[in-house]
């Protein structure tokens, strides 16, 4: 699903990622952990095509990001969904409109959109808020809208950048249950987080650590010490 070879990325003179090599199989669940400023978000953005590959080689969901042109990036983004740290939802649009947006841009029929959006909203306990503008929601609810929008298209790969950052403990755990549920259906998931509790909860997840732009392979949560 993801193959990274000797990837480096810098913002001016500041090296954010240093010679990273990493691979992730289809159907894997990976936690990308590390302190703030370690390069997690930068890596996520590269994997989603929001930042270019400066050095090294990156292949995501069958797309070679080194050669993928701007005009074809939407194809990558149709297979790879992202939950952003800052949600990136349309505040003046309703919950339903926000969640249905990825389906609308794919030209999917209205009745199918209606069915799929309502199903996802139910699973995230947002069905009562379908007609509410997102600006009227709490931070936690907005985060759930962002997750709903990412999963509604049944992506091959789901990237989530601190998806529980604005949620309390109970909601964080419920969110992880939802991710687990989608993982069971075959979606590959990579979550950037430094929430130890949710990492411990996912016994089969693989953990990789980014520290000062350098990646270290961690153990699977379930492995014996």
């Amino acid at each position: 699903m993801i193959t990274i070879s000797k990837l480096s990325y810098s913002f001016g003179r500041q090296l954010a990622l240093k010679d990273i090599s990493f691979s992730m199989k289809q159907g894997e669940f990976v936690f990308l952990c590390g302190p703030s400023g370690a390069g997690k978000t930068t890596l996520m953005r590269i994997l989603h095509g929001a930042l270019p590959v400066q050095r090294g080689k990156v292949d995501v969901a069958g797309y070679d990001l080194n050669t993928l042109t701007e005009s074809r990036k939407h194809l990558l983004r149709r297979d790879v969904s992202v939950v952003f740290q800052d949600f990136k939802i349309l505040p003046n649009q309703t919950v339903f409109a926000n969640v249905g947006l990825p389906l609308v841009v794919r030209g999917i029929a209205r009745h199918i959109i209606d069915k799929r959006v309502r199903a996802v909203l139910r699973s995230l306990h947002l069905d009562q808020k379908a007609g509410v503008p997102c600006e009227e929601l709490s931070g936690g609810e907005q985060q759930r809208v962002a997750v709903a929008r990412a999963v509604v298209v049944k992506p091959k790969l789901l990237l989530a950048d601190e998806p529980t950052g604005n949620l309390d403990r109970e909601l964080s755990l419920r969110m992880m249950d939802i991710f687990q549920q989608f993982h069971r259906f075959g979606t590959s998931i990579m979550i950037a987080t430094h929430n130890q509790e949710i990492m411990e909860r996912m016994a089969e997840a693989r953990i990789v650590t980014l520290e000062d732009g350098v990646m270290h392979e961690g153990k699977k949560n379930g492995d014996q010490q």
Partner: protein, 290 residues
């Protein structure tokens, strides 16, 4: 197809998100288009007037006194078959005397000269000017008329040729630069509006990109918006121009001018609407590219 029409509609609907900005843009484009169309109407009417009144050059052809009536009739009959000749008026010596008498407004009595008129048989040959090489053409026409049997003298007013060629030159020189300038202004106004729309909607467009919207999906409504602005503003400008035309239509239709002012022909109207819509699309493209 559904998506196409939805995006088409969305392109127009998005413009109304910032009605104030839309109004200002439409006002600016309308004003510029109005000026451009008014200039076009002026040129069109001047060309019409030149074509019907002064666009043709008149040659005066005088025959010698020894030419008989029968000879004259034969030559005059052949005059209208000369290439470029649009009208021929002929005068026998007596008819020429009558016209001369009329020009004196009966203050001089020339009746006593009837039948013994000293004036030569005359023809006024009106010719259509070619677009190029008018002076050369005029000289050739003089030679050709001079070569007719028993012609004594051919004259024409070279100033008329000069004025006409000057006007043709002026319209050629000034028309496109003026139109180009006005279209550039329109392009800048539309382009700027699209740029502003992009800035205002930056976050929304970024979200659309991240959820998998293709470049065409994002850009098409903006191009439609540009085309719509150009089309709508030019439509409003043409309606305003029509109102102005209605008010001034007969302003010059009085003696001795008798000039009716005509509105732009349908082809010009279609061209204005299409060109403005096209300029809107092109400037939107440039704004999106930047």
């Amino acid at each position: 197809m559904n998506v196409f029409f939805r995006l088409l509609f969305q392109g127009v609907r998005d413009l109304f998100r910032s009605p104030w900005s839309l109004c200002m843009t439409l006002a600016a484009i309308t004003l510029v288009t109005f000026l451009g169309s008014a200039f076009l109407m002026l040129v069109h009417n001047l060309n019409l007037q030149l074509g019907t009144r002064h666009g043709n050059v008149q040659f005066q052809v005088y025959w010698g006194g020894n030419a008989t009536q029968a000879e004259m009739q034969e030559v005059w009959g052949a005059l209208s078959s000369i290439q470029g000749v649009v009208n021929v008026r002929t005068f026998t010596p007596d008819q020429a005397l009558e016209v001369l008498s009329e020009s004196f407004q009966k203050s001089v009595d020339l009746e006593w000269m009837k039948g013994r008129s000293p004036l030569p048989p005359t023809a006024l040959v009106e010719c259509e000017m070619p677009e190029d090489g008018q002076k050369k053409w005029a000289a050739a026409m003089v030679d050709r008329l001079q070569a007719l049997p028993k012609v004594q003298k051919v004259s024409f007013n070279p100033l008329q040729v000069d004025v006409l060629s000057s006007w043709v030159g002026f319209t050629r020189m000034a028309f496109w630069p003026v139109m180009g300038f006005l279209l550039t202004v329109v392009a800048l106004v539309v382009g700027n509006t699209i740029k502003l729309a992009l800035l205002v909607r930056r976050e929304e467009l970024e979200i659309l990109r991240f959820v998998g919207a293709s470049r065409a999906y994002i850009q098409f409504p903006l191009l439609v918006g540009g085309a719509f602005q150009g089309f709508l503003a030019s439509g409003v400008a043409l309606v305003l121009l029509k109102l102005v035309h209605h008010a001034i239509e007969n302003l010059l239709n009085v003696p001795p001018l008798w000039i009716s002012i005509f509105f732009l022909p349908n082809l010009y109207i279609l061209a204005i609407l299409s060109v403005l819509a096209g300029v809107g699309v092109i400037s939107s493209c440039v704004a999106l590219r930047n």
